[in-house]
């Protein structure tokens, strides 16, 4: 650290005189430790020590004036900043130990990033030697990394074993192999595992995790399952309903877990209605189902529900979220048209590949051809590219917009080449009666979407036009110009052909995973739109089997829903047993989750026998049927109690193409809404609601209670529940009040608010 000019000058002088001794020193180092390669050693150290992480010097703005390429994606850049910036003080061949990079990383001088390695470490030795040897780049001579090999790739470890040593080797282009245990980076996906410097994985408890092993630009995921010993574990042989169960049970057995018991008929009927229709069974429907003696009544119920109009309502809602069906961009008329088109597609069981093809190739007026709203909502090429990849290929590309994707294979070039596929989507805005002249996001009026002849995307890194290519092995778009369409339309037609082809591995997989998620509460790949080698499915063979089934069925959504719901796995109870208590990802029991905003409001109204109102829509419309987000803007009219309820419970604004935009959080605001909010208070006290009718129905107190329980919870009350509620009614001064209190308790029961 030489800040005094005269001293610095002196050092440079003395360095000239001392070149020969430096050379000697370097020679000695090489002799003892072998050559140090910038490409293969120094770059590895920058990653190993965490210097180039996104939170440190890998940040887009660098840190403290020192910026490295993120995770070492750009060695050309890195060698420049190491050797040329700061007048060479960062790496000082004259006095290697005085190099800033060594002083900082070892905290010999203050370092915001703390201690990265010690002076006696291999990291230090490598950097020091490279500096001492004169900061040579060996881009031309260094052997290239061909392959990263990690052993084991998968392991199941049973307690008391709670550790496993990974072995990491590089296969280099000169045919040599190299042990990398001390230089590879280990990223465990879950906090319950830690990995030592040299690759010893330790688990603090039982569970499954992935450890990413990284060296230079390659990474390998390692799947590890740490299993509790359970010496008295006995595998309970349970029958399979279909192939789904076989895959799940096989996995559970290796994990020494038994699946939970099957759910009751009462649980099943509630679950099936909520999952397929988004509403509760009525008391009569629930009773009839439970009383039905037929052995195949569950299958029959599934078939019946799939044909009901509410099924199309509820599953259209899911798609309307993802396709950004909202008023500001699509306008009210567009929102209605698009929703009608989505709902109709589901009602008629349009094969999913066809549904997607229509969206991707839609041209014309967004009023006349509602599918064109797909592009109306996605206004620029990169948004279209990101959304299409995320929605239909389960691939999150966003990272690659600014740098190569850190966890996936996508480069920045891939990103812009893919975006270029969408560059020629054009808009003819026939009219725009936007209410806010300054708001360029707002469109109100007819638009025509058309495939233009011009338009390209520039790759900002190269500054050159990108070359339209499909993601992955898809290759250049020009190779896909088939079907004899107008050449300028080929991009979108070719896109739809390629994307929905059964040969495209990601389309069917990502779509079947999404359906699985909606029914099971968690994707086999989770998050459901984040497929990558480093995020493997929890039960890979099951995802393969479902994918094949789905593709063979000609992308028949009802077919795959039926398959899943008829499995024993879908029909398990949510209550865990001793062996599967901690399982969250292998479907050994049903996963408990809160009802969605619309489901919850509709269910409350159903129980109380009232209707909510949503601004801009006729009274009587259910929340699940609302086509858009908010039909009347907040500043024109205060959102209705129903609108507000939906917002508090996480109805998405539809600004993102991501399932994650729907908030399934629980919050204080929600608790206030459910305890004493305007919606619940009104529906309980409204004259003429179900309570009014019950009170004059001539039913006994116990009869009224029983009716309410079946209506709200799809089950009869227990004797204790009946007793408490009846006692309350009997001693009440105001019987209506007492009945309101019972109903409040039902609507606030966890069993009501949560789907189990």
């Amino acid at each position: 650290m030489l800040l005094h000019p005269s001293r610095a000058g002196k050092v440079i002088l003395s360095a000239r005189f001392c070149l020969w001794c430096l050379a000697l020193a370097a020679a000695r180092d090489v002799a003892s430790a072998g050559d140090v390669s910038f490409r293969n050693d120094v770059m590895a150290v920058l990653s190993k020590a965490g210097c180039n992480m996104g939170t440190c010097h890998g940040n887009a703005n660098g840190k403290a004036g020192f910026k490295l390429s993120l995770r070492g994606e750009d060695p050309e850049w890195d060698i420049k900043v190491l050797t040329r910036d700061m007048f060479g003080r960062r790496a000082n061949p004259a006095e290697p130990d005085q190099s800033l990079i060594l002083l900082k990383a070892t905290t010999q001088i203050a370092h915001e990033g703390g201690l990265r390695f010690r002076k006696d470490s291999e990291e230090y030795a490598i950097l020091r030697q490279w500096i001492a040897e004169g900061l040579r780049d060996d881009a031309q001579t260094a052997a290239r990394l061909e392959r990263l090999e990690v052993e084991p790739r998968e392991a199941i470890l049973t307690a008391p074993t709670h550790q496993v040593q990974l072995r990491v080797q590089a296969v280099l282009s000169d045919g040599s192999r190299r042990n990398l245990n001390s230089l590879a980076v280990y990223d465990p996906a879950n906090p319950f595992t830690t990995v030592s410097h040299d690759g010893l994985v330790s688990a603090a408890r039982a569970g499954e995790t992935t450890v990413l092993v990284r060296y230079l630009d390659q990474q390998v995921p390692v799947r590890l399952a740490f299993i509790a010993a359970r010496p008295d574990f006995v595998w309970k042989n349970v029958p399979s309903h279909n192939y789904i169960d076989e895959h799940v049970l096989a996995k559970l057995r290796t994990l020494r877990m038994n699946p939970s018991a099957g759910c009751t008929d009462n649980e099943f009927v509630r679950r099936a209605y909520l999952d397929l229709l988004g509403i509760l069974p009525t008391a009569e429907e629930a009773r009839a189902f439970v009383a039905d003696p037929r052995r195949d009544k569950r299958s029959r119920l599934i078939d019946r529900l799939l044909e009901r109009p509410e099924f199309a309502d509820f599953w259209a809602l899911k798609w309307a979220d993802l396709l950004r069906n909202e008023e500001k961009v699509l306008d009210r008329k567009g929102v209605q048209a698009f929703h009608r088109w989505i709902r109709q597609s589901i009602a008629e069981n349009k094969p999913l590949d066809q549904f997607v093809r229509e969206l991707l190739t839609a041209q014309g007026s967004t009023y006349q051809n509602p599918a064109a709203n797909y592009y109306r909502a996605l206004r620029d090429p990169v948004t279209r590219a990101e959304s299409t990849a995320q929605l239909f290929l389960g691939t999150r590309l966003q990272c690659a917009k600014c740098h190569n994707h850190p966890f996936d294979r996508w480069t920045q070039a891939d990103y812009y080449d893919w975006a270029d596929v969408f560059a020629r989507v054009q808009y003819k805005v026939l009219e725009n009666r936007r209410q806010d002249g300054l708001d360029t996001h707002e469109f109100n009026g007819e638009q025509v979407i058309w495939a233009g002849r011009k338009g390209e995307v520039t790759n900002p890194k190269t500054g050159k036009p990108a070359n339209s290519r499909f993601l992955g092995s898809g290759g250049p778009v020009t190779q896909h110009a088939t079907r004899g369409t107008h050449p300028e339309e080929n991009r979108l037609n070719a896109l739809a052909d390629w994307l929905t082809s059964p040969a495209n591995p990601l389309f069917a997989r990502s779509q079947v995973n999404r359906i699985w998620y909606h029914l099971m509460g968690r994707g086999l790949v989770e998050p459901i739109d984040d497929f990558r080698p480093t995020n493997p499915p929890s039960i890979a063979s099951l995802l393969d089997a479902l994918t094949e089934d789905f593709a063979k069925s000609n992308f028949d959504m009802r077919h795959i829903i039926r398959r899943i719901m008829n499995s024993r796995t879908y029909q398990l109870s949510a209550a865990p047993n001793d062996t599967n208590l901690d399982d969250e990802m292998n479907f050994s029991h049903a996963l408990v989750r809160r009802l969605g905003a619309e489901q919850l409001l509709d269910a409350q109204n159903q129980v109380a026998g009232v209707r909510s109102h949503f601004n801009g829509y006729p009274v009587g419309m259910r929340a699940t049927q609302v086509p858009g987000v908010l039909a009347v803007r907040k500043r024109e009219k205060k959102p209705s109690a129903g609108d507000q309820f939906l917002e508090v419970f996480g109805k998405p604004q539809r600004l993102l193409t991501c399932e994650c935009e729907r908030s399934m959080d629980t919050s204080m605001g929600q608790a206030f809404q459910l305890i004493s909010g305007p919606t619940i208070n009104d529906l309980l006290t409204e004259e003429g609601n179900r309570l009014s009718k019950l009170l004059v129905s001539g039913k006994s107190d116990a009869g009224m209670i029983e009716e309410l329980y079946w209506t709200a919870l799809s089950r009869p009350p227990t004797s204790k529940e009946t007793k408490e509620a009846v006692a309350l009614l009997e001693k009440a001064k105001d019987r209506r009040h007492a009945l309101e209190d019972v109903t409040w308790a039902l609507l606030n029961a966890k069993e009501f608010v949560l789907r189990k």
Partner: protein, 471 residues
């Protein structure tokens, strides 16, 4: 070597960031002492071993001046600048030696010995919504978009971050904001928890604290419902919950029930109800704060931090205003034949001069200024050069923020602008740095990593705490 760095802490970012207590300037000065044998490495070796930031502030009152107040008129006056810049308002001396503020702020002048002014705030967002989001979150939006859309991709409000990393327990909310949702055409992002999740949203209301029957629906039951009845309902609910056993095994159920407990505790909380009961305050105090929505809002803020709420945001107005002497924010362009200097002396300055000194004095008298940081700022300043309407337009390139209370210096000016208050001349501070300063003072590491939409690792602040303003 093996243990030189043990994962996974190793991967959790620049953990010891805040250890650095010496500024670069000091470093350079010390560096010059090398000849005396005191080498920088030696000196800093001792400094490098720091701990996490210690909380120096218990609560924050964030007074957001929507529309953009004029720095060159109020707190960064340039009496020697040409007439086209300095404006018609005269200066008045203050209790900070050498500092003048504008006429109309005579009471404020008397408390300037208690405050720190940062005169070198700057950024590049010229539109209200993009600049407002920047000011409220400490993160620059990707583009300077007039109608930036409030989506979960954008960063959360400061209070939401505090709620996530340093929440208040018991029957109190951590983050309270009121009495407006601010918007300029579109709702301004940065007012809620965004990607941190709804559980970290503020306890927010739009009821007017200046209303004679000011009360909150959340804290007051509907007229048909008594607390006794609510307790009875809760008992019935518990009977059903026991039956389903969900609370035995479902974390979701347990989480939801915890919110019931907290919500009911708040409904039952005498101290919270008292805090919101402005009628308990002597009439003299209420008058002193000013009988305005903003004035009573600031009084409420004092009552809330007194009770233990950690982050209180008071919005000056719901819209950018600037064309009325009766309502609205600071956006005085002189449009529609209005004139800035006919408006702010009649509305904005009197309200400010009534409320701000009262709040600081009141906090001090109650010993609360030692634990409470008050932040007064807008989204930008105003053009140093008077425009054709004898008014001023947007100016993010340089503006002033006022800080007072816990953790910051008294009677201090940090940074400086050039001779026309157009650009920072020294120690420039970005909103990112101010955000980092607020987190740092609250004991939250500004470089804490969170996961944004798509699991993207991001830092709660990309800025650097401004150590120079700290006491």
């Amino acid at each position: 070597m093996k243990d030189s760095m043990s994962s996974p802490n190793h991967y959790s970012a620049c953990a010891d960031f805040h250890a650095l207590r010496l500024s670069r300037r000091t470093l350079l000065k010390v560096g010059g002492m090398g000849l005396l044998g005191l080498t920088v490495p030696n000196l800093l070796r001792a400094e490098a071993k720091g701990k996490g930031p210690k909380a120096r502030v218990k609560s924050v009152i964030f007074l957001f001046q929507w529309g953009g107040p004029s720095h060159i008129d109020m707190f960064d006056r340039k009496p020697d600048a040409p007439e086209a810049y300095r404006g018609p308002l005269n200066g008045v001396p203050t209790s900070m030696p050498g500092l003048h503020v504008c006429e109309g702020l005579e009471r404020t002048a008397k408390i300037m010995d208690k405050v720190t002014l940062i005169r070198s705030m700057h950024h590049t967002m010229k539109n209200h919504n993009s600049a407002g989001y920047y000011a409220l979150s400490g993160h620059a939006p990707a583009t300077d978009d007039q109608r930036l859309r409030d989506s979960p991709e954008l960063f959360p409000a400061y209070g939401s971050v505090v709620d996530k990393f340093a929440p208040v327990k018991d029957d109190l909310p951590t983050f309270v904001s009121y009495p407006h949702t601010i918007a300029d055409g579109s709702i301004t992002p940065g007012q809620h928890a965004s990607f941190l999740g709804k559980r970290h949203d503020p306890f927010f209301f739009t009821q007017d604290p200046n209303d004679s029957n000011f009360s909150l629906p959340e804290l007051s039951l509907p007229s048909n419902l008594t607390l006794e009845r609510l307790e009875q309902r809760r008992e019935l609910q518990k009977i059903i919950d026991r039956q389903s056993r969900l609370l035995d095994f479902s974390a979701t159920a347990q989480g939801l029930d915890a919110y019931y407990e907290k919500a009911l505790a708040m409904l039952n909380s005498p101290r919270l109800r008292t805090a919101f009961d402005l009628s308990a305050e002597p009439a003299k105090v209420r008058e002193a704060y000013g009988r305005t929505t903003y004035g009573q809002g600031c009084l409420l803020a004092r009552r809330l931090v007194e009770t233990g709420v950690k982050f209180v945001t008071v919005y000056f107005s719901n819209n950018i205003g600037g064309q009325s002497t009766e309502s609205g924010g600071w956006d005085t362009h002189g449009f529609n034949n209005t004139r800035m200097y006919n408006i702010i002396p009649k509305y904005h300055l009197p309200i400010t001069d009534q409320t701000l000194p009262t709040l600081l004095n009141d906090l001090e008298e109650r010993g609360l200024l030692e634990s409470t940081l008050v932040v007064w700022m807008g989204e930008f300043g105003r053009t140093p050069r008077i425009n054709d309407n004898a008014s001023r337009d947007h100016w993010p390139q340089c503006y002033t923020t006022l800080l007072a209370g816990a953790g910051v210096k008294r009677g201090f000016i940090y940074g400086a602008s050039d001779k026309t208050a157009s650009y920072p001349a020294e120690n420039p501070v970005r909103p990112d740095d101010l955000a980092a300063t607020i987190y740092y003072l609250l004991g939250v590491d500004p470089h804490t990593e969170v996961r944004a939409v798509g699991d993207r690792p991001v830092l709660i602040s990309d800025g650097k705490p401004v150590m120079g303003v700290m006491a």
